[in-house]
Amino acid sequence: MDRESARDLLAPYALGALPEEEARALQQALLEWPEGRAELAQLIAVADALPVALTEERPPLGLEGRIIAKARQRRRPFRSLMIGRRPQRAALRFLPHLLAVGFAAAAAVLAVMLFVEIGSDGVPSGGRWIDLAGTDSAGAYVTYTDGRPIGIVFRGLDPPPEDRIYQLHRLRSDGVRVSDVHFLPRDDGWAAVALVLPVDEMLVGFGITIEPIEEDDPDPSSEFPPITFPAR
């Protein structure tokens, strides 16, 4: 897409009026067009202000109560960081889950290896190490292709309690957190996950949590503080 065509699409993009395919093409063009990104930011700021101009409507009576009631029915939100061993339970109950998860983790590692160049020392090139906040020594290595993150390699992860598993979450640029793949680190604390993203998804970071394997587990999940992707 040439710059002139891309410039024409900035305003429709800011207003959410671009069909998906064109939005993806524009995002691709913006990756190497800082002036376009700056102009888009200005247009988006105005588009975001449009709802402020509306005369406020009174919400229906009782809506607050209905929202609170619905919230009670849903899973409680995550609590703050709690890393450590939990009481062990019968491992065999979770064997099918663990096998499935192990297979998924292995597939993820393979997927990352397909995309990431592995150096002679076993460390992928084309990325950057960052500390994993909330841990003593864990780190994450984010790898990129064309400026987009495509995989994360973890080191120094403690094995989760027997009935728990790690889960990756993507932090999108619109502030929404999207739950991603479950994974288990190897015995030496290494793990790798591939980021399989919708083409138009813009990521700003990631987070990992330790989740109960069984969905009806009454214990809350625990999580590391979210991490913003380092600049390339």
Partner: protein, 208 residues
């Protein structure tokens, strides 16, 4: 004072602080319903207004707003937001939820959506600081030519793509894109001039 009432009073004190949203979100992330109530009271009316404006039906607007606040409840831990950042997130998500709903539904049902700009842009008391912003944005919107504000409205509040707008108005897609750009830039220029004028007035007052 009952514990719950004391907690609510303390939370309400938070509302007056600058980083209120970040602190409320943190409490929501910890499962605090009172914090969710306060977030609703701070933002629910705006969210409902946007949803009602786009969908034109109270029951559907309520569905969207409920979904929005359940998302806040479930994902509060992942927000690290200032008040402005949270407002932006909220308005985008509520708009996107509405547009998704519109695009799924039968076009005949959409005919009920309200599209009278004047009704939605009537003026309110400009003394309230929030209303001042509202006043400025309304002024900015109303000062751009109607041909431009109409395409902004169709895109943002009716969830139409630029191609659909061109078809409905019987004009070329190039014209629609151009009107969108001119409209947004015109509003921005107006708001910047207004801000500049306010800042110069404030400087003049401080010299006196």
């Amino acid at each position: 004072m009952h514990r719950r009432q004391a907690a609510a009073t303390e939370l309400w004190r938070c509302v007056t602080d600058r980083d209120v949203v970040a602190r409320l979100l943190q409490r929501v992330a910890e499962g605090d319903e009172e914090a969710l109530r306060l977030l609703w009271r701070e933002n629910g009316r705006l969210a409902f207004t946007i949803a009602f404006r786009i969908l034109g039906r109270e029951d559907r607007a309520e569905d969207v707003v409920q979904e929005l606040f359940i998302r806040v409840w479930r994902n509060a831990a992942s927000f690290h937001s200032t008040r402005a950042g949270f407002h932006t997130w909220l308005t985008r998500v509520v708009r996107n939820l509405c547009v998704d709903m519109i695009r799924r539904e039968d076009p005949i049902e959409r005919a009920g959506a309200i599209t009278d700009v004047e009704h939605w842009l009537s003026f309110s008391d400009p003394v309230d600081p929030i209303a001042v912003n509202r006043f400025a944005v309304r002024e900015a919107f109303l000062q751009v030519p109607v041909t431009q504000s109409r395409v902004l409205e169709m895109a943002y509040f009716e969830g139409l793509t630029y191609g659909e707008i061109a078809e409905r108005l019987g004009i070329s897609t190039g014209t629609v894109k151009s009107r969108m750009r001119l409209g947004l830039r015109g509003m921005r220029r107006y708001l910047e001039e207004l801000r500049l004028g306010e800042s110069q007035a404030a400087q003049g007052a401080s010299r006196r």
